[in-house]
Subunit: 354 residues, 4 copies
């Protein structure tokens, strides 16, 4: 119950600190018989990897995964898949300045209060480096569900907002630019903006949108484990996320029911999709789409005043190699968590009828 497990049947438990020996996890409940594409797994890790472009952190981590178990002759065996990503580039000295003081809007203070002390190196367990394990697990979940297509992309950076329906976007262009925005023009603007922010030593927030197509009807467990509730939790569990909305979302509150309702076609599909592919917590076969809000990264490379363990004021400065904007690298993480939810709920749905 200590919170390091996600999923009920397709269960992922992760371990690892930012600057420890290794991060990794165990996937328990992955069905047997899935032929794994290891290159595809690595490709997902590469999308999340630091140092991949000029607008992300310049740390260098190969982020290659070692599998220990649960795979035999290239296929999943149904037994737990243990894996690790070994840390190779641990510049602990970068973080000595936070050993005894608390960075604002980080988890330093609350970890100390909750656990009595903390591994302060690079944020320890609270670092977004933990998500490397999620990406591995999500890549396997994707391979369990080959029909489902999940695409996340950056739809907003600061005030720069992509005001188009996802249906008017060309997802094949997502990976064509470092921002991971499928609109090239907007992507270019966002990239320039992030570079300017970086130059200031500052950071900026953003929004990731995600669309899952070909999700079968019937995923979702009422009443508490509604599909969108689990998706929401999955997204909110990602570092720096402040909000989640699906379908009509916060905009939907201003609509009248007569305008908001999605009329049926004869085949059970709906003419509109303000429901966002989920009704009563259960997938209805339409596209699932949602938005995830990320705050600006808390580490700014500017001087600031904060407190130490004894409550004394100290002056310090952000150091290290950090992302000026987290959303480009968070795209594969959003996809991974989406895949984990869908894999889990696919297994759950196998048990609904006699």
């Amino acid at each position: 119950m200590a919170g390091n497990t996600f999923g009920q049947l397709f269960k992922v438990t992760t371990f690892g600190e930012s600057h420890g020996k290794a991060l990794g996890g165990i996937i328990d409940g992955c069905p047997s018989g899935i032929t794994l594409d290891f290159d595809a797994i690595q490709a997902e890790l590469d999308r999340r990897k630091p140092g991949q472009s000029k607008i992300v952190t310049q740390r260098k981590e190969p982020d290659s995964v070692e599998f220990f178990s649960g795979i035999f002759e290239g296929k999943t065996t149904g037994t737990p898949i243990g894996f690790a990503i070994h840390n190779t580039n641990q510049k602990s000295k970068d973080y000595s300045h936070i050993k005894d003081s608390y960075r604002p809007s980080h988890a330093d203070y609350v970890y100390d209060k909750k656990y009595g002390f903390r591994d302060y190196r690079g944020g320890g367990r609270s670092s977004a480096r933990e998500t490397v394990s999620r990406v591995v697990a999500g890549a396997i979940a994707k391979q369990m569900l080959p029909e489902i297509k999940i695409n996340a992309f950056v739809s907003q950076v600061g005030e720069l907002k992509l005001d188009k329906s996802y249906e008017d976007l060309d997802f094949s262009k997502i990976e064509s630019n470092p921002v991971r925005c499928p609109d090239p023009e907007m992507a270019a603007q966002m990239e320039e903006y992030i570079k300017a922010i970086k130059k200031e030593g500052d950071t900026i927030g953003g929004v990731i949108s995600c669309v899952a197509k070909n999700v079968p009807i019937g995923l979702g467990e009422p009443v508490f484990d509604k599909l969108h509730a689990e998706l929401g939790k999955a997204m909110l569990s990602i570092n720096a996320v402040k909000g989640f909305e699906y379908g009509s979302g916060f905009q939907g509150v201003t609509m009248k029911g007569s305008a908001h309702n999605d009329s049926f076609n004869s085949d059970g599909t709906t003419k509109t999709n303000k429901s966002g592919g989920v009704q009563g917590g259960i997938s209805n076969g339409m596209d699932i789409y949602f938005n995830v809000a990320f705050k600006p990264v808390a580490t700014v490379l500017q001087g600031y005043e904060t407190i130490d363990k004894d409550g004394n004021k100290v002056k310090t400065q952000g150091k290290g190699r950090h992302d000026p904007c987290v959303v480009p690298r968070a795209v594969p993480i959003v996809e991974a968590m989406t895949a984990l939810v869908l894999a889990d709920y696919t297994l759950l749905a196998k048990t609904n009828k006699i």
Copy 2:
């Protein structure tokens, strides 16, 4: 895993259909020794009850709870608390029109697909009537945490939005009007608007904001079970919810890190609270606040075209007694779910240190 349980240590499992014999649940894991205030429990049920004002559904349900177990001489015993709310006003005939057809943006269609058939009376299990059990459990959770003060209120109805910080509101006025908006002037506007919407036979969405004060430092289980992730799931599990944001939320994405960070005071409190009382998924002792978006109720009292089980087009009309706007009655539900999360995480936090 069928989704009817919420919480890990303070665990609530609910049962019941809209028009079945009874709804109810079991609270397992409630600590022993809590002297229960039964009037306070009933008061919460009354806040959620149909028929309480002109802007809510006019169904008449006494919604009184019968406790079966887990309480002895007025105190919780540490054993499971079984309870039921008996249905007394089951107008099944109101719903005969949906027996063989699917209402748009309801769960009728997906339940049939998922389970093979459904209890169609009043929406069956997918009805928001299920939340009556949550309110009972939440009322007990509140009593387990007497120091924590949870206040939810309506902050938006349609386009009518309360643009004030919660700190400038007088929570004692929330219950002074049927909308449950603490600003009397805005409340009056909202009430008029809902009445007009009702007259049209239409419905409208809204936002509920919630503030939890005096939450101790250290609640929240990284990495997947972050406090705000569980709060988000709790809210998204409520019928008609489309979005959740906490702290700076979706607005926060437009901010720079230097402006968004919450500087510390010497005592560990922060000068600002864009974090919304949670950092790294763990409560930091500041106020927790969040917004919950509700779509307009799908049942509109107007004629519409839809399909039947065989995909034939049918013309039908919304019937029954429904809420034109769900947020006034959802206020106690939001509070209840908040209390359940905080009770559960309070128990979890007892096990962090040796």
Copy 3:
């Protein structure tokens, strides 16, 4: 986690104290589409009911079950099945003598220490009356698995031991006598013995054997949730149980591997079945069989000395209407718990392969 839930996918949570208003539970995860035979459910309750013969407690409880939800037009809907057995014959005065003192080998003392106080009436939550809810749930689990045949029977009472292989017994005779021993001669001896014990105001232990036939191959989740491990936990969770063995059991320790191994037939069945139908924690299609040891009931109708809450010695006497030997009435409980395990593991096994 407070221990009142059994199962992972076919999940039963029970509530209720011996002398409270009602006992009952929620079955969550029962698949939809099972046509329930309510008479068969009541028949199981009748097998467990007090007052059914001269060798069991003479309390009178109708033990009829009220279903609240999860059933529509006679079939399970896939939503939670809430139910209650209302207490109608609460002779609380029978138990006033234990309000302030602790009965030896009962749970009175530990409940007080664990929870701070207790519902002392009839043992409260620690009473075997709780198992009435298990029998309801087990009866539904049996109906989910119509091919599997589960038969439990009394194989030992005190020193009177049925030294026959279960294969030489006629299970149709189990219900032909009040002891529920399928060997009529031994049954008669056991019955006389129990009557004699009862006359003494004393109690005696016994063993229940159970056989499950037609269990499909592949139930069981290695490594911790082996099928027999879960069966063992299920049995050990029944009041008064002190031991569990399956297959060759404790006798098997004296055998050599060459003699203990079960050779295969060409069709995958085995020539012998010392494995007890489970290999490596997974069912192999052979009969599953096991023994469950029950201690003598702790309540003896004789004077004895014990202590009160303050540690003072007090003299008291067993009162009330108690079973001189628990095993005849525990037969349906053993079957119910077996059915619950098999139903749960049947659902789990649906998710093993892609």
Copy 4:
């Protein structure tokens, strides 16, 4: 739910196959602040290690553990402890003979049926090699509970049975002989017997007894998660275990209640302890003691006939390096599982009272 996790709050998930790259696991929920004694952890692994004496398998595995996370400056941090034991001596060729045939009384056949195929090398996931991870986790659990003293020992090998109360044994002698029987005379007999069995190419079963002293009052979660039920499941989850009994066990069934009851002393202790330290599923502060029955190892180094995947009869012969009797090496495993249950239930008990 795939069965590779044990515990609810002190949760251990293991991974690894007999001849895979590594075995290991994640301990999630270990409280922060425990100063770990790494030598003590290795010492437990050494007690379980192959090759430690002439009566156990002669495989050579160093079995040293690498910790990846959750430990900082020698202390647990409250975050998940990831660890691996790397396989260094993988003689896969030893097992080629079982690639296409099924060894009797092993898990080969059921794994193939359940998962479609299997990692056949050394039994894959069904090998007792998996328990190496349990020993690591159990060693840490022991260190979390320094007051509790857990001692397991061999009390029976074949027909050679130690007929003494555990109170008359000197636990300091357990490690003085390779059998791990605290009675030197009986230990010598057992050792000779196992050597003779080994010479025959055969195997023999045995019983391990275990005693836990200084367990505080109040551990155990009624009704399904009784302390002894969880202990029973823990033991039954160990490879080759066929039975579990605690306190008076199977012997207790022959006793009368008047003789079986444990009378109280004024301080709440009991004059006798037939309850085995647990009443109503909750520890009462007396010694907890139980017996665990192990069948003879299925791999006998003799020729035998079995079937292949297509049901054809094949003649084959046991190969490899196997234990003639599993109990000497299983002693630390029994202790580890006991420690895991007690650690988990210690955390659970922190949440019982307000």
